[in-house]
């Protein structure tokens, strides 16, 4: 390296790093060294992500186009797995149930927390208690909450039929009837997840500037118009984020049908995730299960993509 180049280089490298460059090779060496250190720090995460996130994505696609017994190498079968799964009468039922479950969970689990948050934000007493209590079910392990509700749903001495009885309402069959089983699942799921939404909305409500309400009131806006024209627009992004998040979460519903109904009665509570589990672990058909998983993945990725867009917007 010539003397002139060195002279030019020096001040630059002083600005960039603590030690001045002596020559180009030193800079290269340091850059390689820095990258090696950096990847040394990264390697644990790279291994974990590769094994349990990135590779499974590829594997899912491969599995769904193969027939596999996990002894011989998998045999490519084209769309056979998809065809088999789609022809299964439970397939339509599972998607229908999942859609109904998500829709019902939205109707209850989406609007109610928003209303609760609005009420909580107005109250000046018992704030800490109410916040604590609404989040309590979220802290229970889901299996515990679901098994607890299984006991409440008991058609004989279960809590819910007892409560109905005190109001003179005839008992319901809850999980044992095709007409109430799915809604019973929605009820548990909503109960144990309601707190999250409520507290997130509450945090969003607290950041609304008070003078917006002030001026809306001066303009003669009543309570509901203030909610509609101030509260909702101010929390629009969070509302949208939560909507997408909830759709993605509820469409994966598994533990409720697994522990409460086993998909019954008469497939009334079979969900896509549960059917996927059944294909793999009850029928030993990982190809069919993966095909189902892939379909669910594509549907959920649409929602996740929108969600990421929106939440990035919200962050700004």
């Amino acid at each position: 390296m010539t003397v002139t180049q060195e002279r030019v280089r020096r001040p630059q490298s002083r600005a960039a790093g603590p030690r001045p460059d002596v020559d180009g090779r030193g800079a290269l060496k340091r850059s390689v060294g820095r990258n090696l250190t950096a990847y040394g720090f990264l390697c644990g995460a790279l291994i974990c992500f590769a094994l349990f996130s990135w590779y499974p994505m590829v594997r899912e696609v491969v599995l769904s186009f193969q027939e596999n017994n996990f002894v011989d190498p998998g045999k490519w079968v084209g769309f056979d797995n998809f065809r088999n799964v789609i022809e299964d009468p439970a397939f339509r039922q599972a998607w229908l149930n999942t859609a109904i479950f998500s829709a019902l969970a939205l109707v209850v689990g989406y609007a109610v927390p928003f209303v609760l948050a609005i009420v909580l934000n107005e109250l000046k007493h018992a704030k800490a208690y109410l916040r604590f209590v609404v989040y309590l079910p979220v802290m229970l392990p889901p299996a515990v909450a679901v098994l607890l509700f299984k006991w409440f749903y008991d058609p004989g001495a279960g809590l819910f039929n007892q409560i109905l009885g005190t109001f003179g309402i005839p008992p319901l069959a809850w999980l044992d009837s095709t007409s109430t089983a799915l809604i019973s699942l929605v009820l548990v799921s909503t109960w144990m997840n309601l707190g999250t939404g409520t507290l997130i909305y509450l945090a969003a409500l607290q950041s609304i500037p008070g003078d917006l309400y002030e001026s809306a009131e001066l303009d003669g806006a009543g309570l509901f118009r203030r909610i509609w024209h101030v509260t909702v627009p101010q929390t629009k992004l969070i509302l949208l984020v939560m909507l997408l998040l909830q759709v993605v979460a509820t469409m994966q519903v598994f533990i409720e049908p697994y522990l409460l109904t086993g998909g019954g009665p008469e497939n009334a509570t079979v969900t896509v995730a549960y059917l996927m589990y059944q294909y793999a672990f009850n029928f030993g058909d990982f190809g069919g299960g993966s095909a189902l998983g892939l379909m669910l993945m594509i549907v959920l990725m649409v929602f996740s993509t929108i969600y990421l867009r929106v939440s990035r917007e919200a962050e700004r």
């Binding site: 590779y55 515990v144 945090a203 203030r226 672990f281």
Partner: protein
Amino acid sequence: MRTLVSPLALQTPRGKILYWSILVITVVGFTGAFVFPLYWMITGALKSPDELAQIPPSFFPQHFDFGVYVEAWNQLQLGVFLKNTVLYAGGAWLFTLAVDVTAAYSLSKLRPMFGKVVLGLMLATLMIPPMVLLLPTYLVAKDLPILHWDLLNTPWAIWLPAAANGFFVFLLKRFFDSIPKELLEAAEIDGASPMRILWSIVLPVSRPILGVVSILSVVTVWKDFVWPLLVLPETDKMSISVGIASLSAQMPQNVLIASLVIASLPTILVFFVFQRSIMAGLTAGSLKG
């Protein structure tokens, strides 16, 4: 601060009556909806099977016999399940911190070549819910690629996937990005190694985010059901949720309820103690991306 209802409106007699009635309805409603089921669970465990089947039910148990908790503990080997769960959650916590903190530090401060690509790939996993990858992920745990190790029934089946958490890497990196450069450069000039800088400068100032990530990681593993159900099928290796669920059919009703109480105590205790961090994690979680 002024909210939806103006303070003036609350001063009028009508406003006061309305406010207090809404307050009472809310408190009673919340208690009924969220506390009463737990009360019913705790007292239900104290009732004999006959009393449990009785219609109408008794509001207070006829006698307080805590023996059923002992029975649940022994019959369901809850001690073993709890010990397992502590091992899984504690190990996952340490492992997650070790792996994700170093990764986030590397991506934020050491900035290697292709660092942005790596971060992008890690964040991309947030778009795909783990449930849809359940089968291929299970197969990886059953037969690790290249090495052909079977991780089923070992804690590694929980620990390794727990660390592959794009959200934690994102949270940590975002926090590390906010640490002023000058702080680290001063140490670098003094000849401190990257590991030393991480340990004695970055970690001490990152306590709040480490708290949030710690609690989220422990609670996530503790509450998880589907994954431990698949990868820990041996009864002696089960986590508490899976253990109770798989033995629930053979238990008398009151013993089962007692075991539910015992299983929910640890997370509720954690909530009592770390309420603030948990709520902080919640609002951080609402804006992941």
